[in-house]
């Protein structure tokens, strides 16, 4: 009986032009007070929600956020020399331009990312703690997002150049920050804070992609030696905790390479992350390869393609398209996992916070500091998972 009534009331709410009040009442009845059990549950949950909201808003209002505002530059870029910071801003503006242009060109979920980015920048520009030069740079970035959004809408010819720029963005950005070899490079030792987190995650995901691809194809190879080498590598890496791989990178890698070549801590962490991420990426790509029906292989062979051409032109494009959401998920987890370098003593976003917390001036300000860190991570991860869900939907639309 319950369900019958429920269905009827839903229909009424949709079809007839009831007054707004009645609609609200119906919505409440269906969603919150269906029966007495639900009503009790709703009341308890509502009390809990109110309690949490009150506690959180009290915490935000009453805490002293100076620990964050005074150390904002440290948290964002670490020990990066102040006179060279313009390089970072050029990279940020370039990325803003790209986001703005792609928003105009493709609309959809990229727009959400662009708007959120501009909102974050606006918040940082609006708070009184940032220096005026920072506010200027942030302003330029925000304006360029919206300016290039307008350009993108008007000029669809930009699609190809923007795509090419997207592919090259990380090397370009790292190149700008590092000076392209023309101007004095800034040693990676002083890269820190959020900058280091982003660079570690991007380098890991980009460098691990070709390795992961080879491992995935190798694991499906018919040649037993290659197949089992790939399986052993993938399973060994996936069986170990990341922190141990970072230790191996820090302690064993210099031993393997020998005494002649010196590599700094950041580079070691990058290598460790790349090797780690490659194994997981390989499993994602293998999933994509397995989803390709046999007919595709056979059709490719029937057309006389050799194995290499068959893979590059027929199988991989389909397989990679199928695993884009999974790879975004992989990027999210790598982005979160970069925080582990704080344990081995690097000053990434979390490591920098750890160092700030050790400053006696800010004793006992852990909550404010770490909540800020958590919030920044949350915003970026949530944004990426939102993009991944949207991609899944748009890619899944054409699926069998």
């Amino acid at each position: 009986m319950d369900n019958v009534q429920l269905n009827n009331s839903e229909k009424m709410a949709e079809s007839t032009s009831l007054s707004r009040l009645v609609k609200v009442q119906l919505w409440l009845k269906v969603n919150l007070f269906k029966d007495w059990k639900n009503a009790i549950l709703t009341i308890i949950a509502a009390m809990f929600t109110v309690f949490i909201i009150v506690r959180v808003s009290n915490f935000i209002a009453e805490s002293d956020w100076s620990v964050v505002s005074a150390n904002l530059r440290l948290l964002m870029v670490g020990q990066f020399p102040v006179e060279e910071i313009w390089r970072l801003w050029i990279a940020v503006i370039l990325i803003s331009v790209l986001f703005g242009a792609s928003w105009g060109l493709w609309r959809g979920v990229i727009g959400h990312v662009a708007i959120t980015l501009s909102a974050i920048m606006l918040i940082f520009a609006a708070v009184p703690y940032t220096e005026s030069i920072t506010k200027l740079y942030l302003g330029v970035s925000i304006v360029s997002i919206y300016l290039f959004y307008a350009f993108g809408r008007k000029l669809p010819v930009l699609k190809i150049p923007v795509l090419i720029l997207w592919i090259l963005i990380i090397p370009i950005a790292v190149g700008i920050i590092n000076g392209f070899g023309i101007i004095e490079p800034v040693s990676t030792n002083v890269w820190g804070g959020f900058l280091l987190t982003l660079v570690l995650a991007s380098v890991a995901i980009i460098c691990s992609f070709p390795i992961g691809l080879l491992l995935a194809v190798g694991r499906r190879s018919k040649l037993p030696v290659i197949k089992y080498t790939c399986i052993v590598y993938i399973e060994l890496i996936r069986g170990m905790p990341l922190i141990m791989i970072l230790f191996i990178g820090q302690l064993l890698l210099p031993m393997f390479i020998g005494g002649e070549i010196q590599i700094d801590n950041v580079l070691r962490a990058m290598i460790a992350f790349t090797l780690f991420s490659a194994a997981y990426l390989a499993e994602n790509i293998r999933g994509g390869l397995q989803s390709i029906p046999r007919g595709q292989f056979e059709a490719g062979q029937a057309l006389g393609l050799n194995h290499f051409k068959l893979m590059v032109f027929v199988i991989l494009p389909q397989a990679l398209k199928a695993v884009i959401p999974a790879m975004v998920g992989q990027f999210i987890s790598i982005f979160k996992d970069t925080s582990l370098v704080a344990v081995i003593g690097l000053a990434d976003f979390l490591g920098m916070a750890k160092k700030v917390a050790a400053n006696p001036e800010y004793l006992g300000k852990y909550m404010e500091l770490y909540v800020f860190i958590a919030l920044m991570y949350f915003v970026f991860c949530y944004l990426m998972s939102h993009v991944s869900k949207a991609l899944e939907k748009s890619l899944g639309a054409g699926n069998r």
Partner: protein, 390 residues
Amino acid sequence: MESKKAQATPLWRNKKVLPILIQILFVAIVGVAITIMVRNVQTGLEQIGLKIGLDFLNLKASFPIAESLISYTPEDPYSRAIIVGLLNTLKVSIFGIIIASVLGVIMGIARLSSNWLIRSLATVYVEVFRNTPLLVQIFIWNFAVFLPMPKIQDASSIGSFYFSNRGAAIPWFTFHENTFIWIGVIVILAAAAILLYKKLTSISIAKGKSTHPIMAVIVFLVISFILFYFLLGNGPFGISVPEFNGTAFVGGTSLSIGFLSMLVALSIYTSTFIAEIVRGGILGVPKGQTEAAKALGFKSPTALRLIIFPQAIRIIIPPLTSQYLNLIKNSSLAMAVAYQDIVGIGNTIINQTGHTFEIILIMISVYLLFSIGTSLFMNFFNKKFQLVER
């Protein structure tokens, strides 16, 4: 045609020769790389004057470990320290897996609730705790929640649970001479209860009348428990309650700050992934099953328990296995909050002795054993729940 047949396939296109050549080349490259690495390691170790070998494990560890399940003093050898670390890893992992599973199942079902508020709360919980790095959460629990607790003299308490900046003191079970008898009694009672349930169910199916099997079993168990309680004079185990004697808590069991923050952070973080898996599993059961259950007159909770969940569990188990493994692997972050698990203790030993290579090999084999063990157990579980087809 004739000329083509006569022409032999060139070596570099011969389908029989080519794979062998490629593999030899591959082995050669990998072999050379490994040889170079091994030689580098050897020369490096010779320079410091260290020899590779496991003999150092018998040397005196001479560092203290704050909490240990087995007796341990700094006089004990390194091998015992490693075992202590292993047990600590297992301790936090096992409790973490239990709590994470319970939380995850609750949240996964709550995310599918018809109640809007419950659904939204569960969604917020999952999104917030899934999208922040585990290490940040561990830091928050450790430095911002548990460490600022009051001093041990004025520990805050909820009932007999005391919380201070030295950790928590909670009531715990104690065993006495009747415990073994009780274990036997419980096994026999459980067997009897299962038999009773099966018998009553078959009667109710045969007669077409409900014999209330669950109620009967509960009544049977309660009555026999009370009976045995008076017969034996005490319960299956005693409960010891912590009491403050001026400097420390006596009785019960105490949990360190590091253990608490690891346990809470690991359970909450993993529970969000389990919630998504449970939700996906339930949604993965075809809609017709729910509708058929409704058409047969099942109530919603009964349908969930008897029809949806048994089918969902098949979808849930494989990803659940990898989440459990992730939890075990993530427990290695304990070294960030001074809870000494196997990786933390291994790191201390590396710093003391310089035997990096051997310790890392030991740790790799321990984690490989964990993953093989978990997947074997889960494969067995999976087989039990597999769809029985013709």
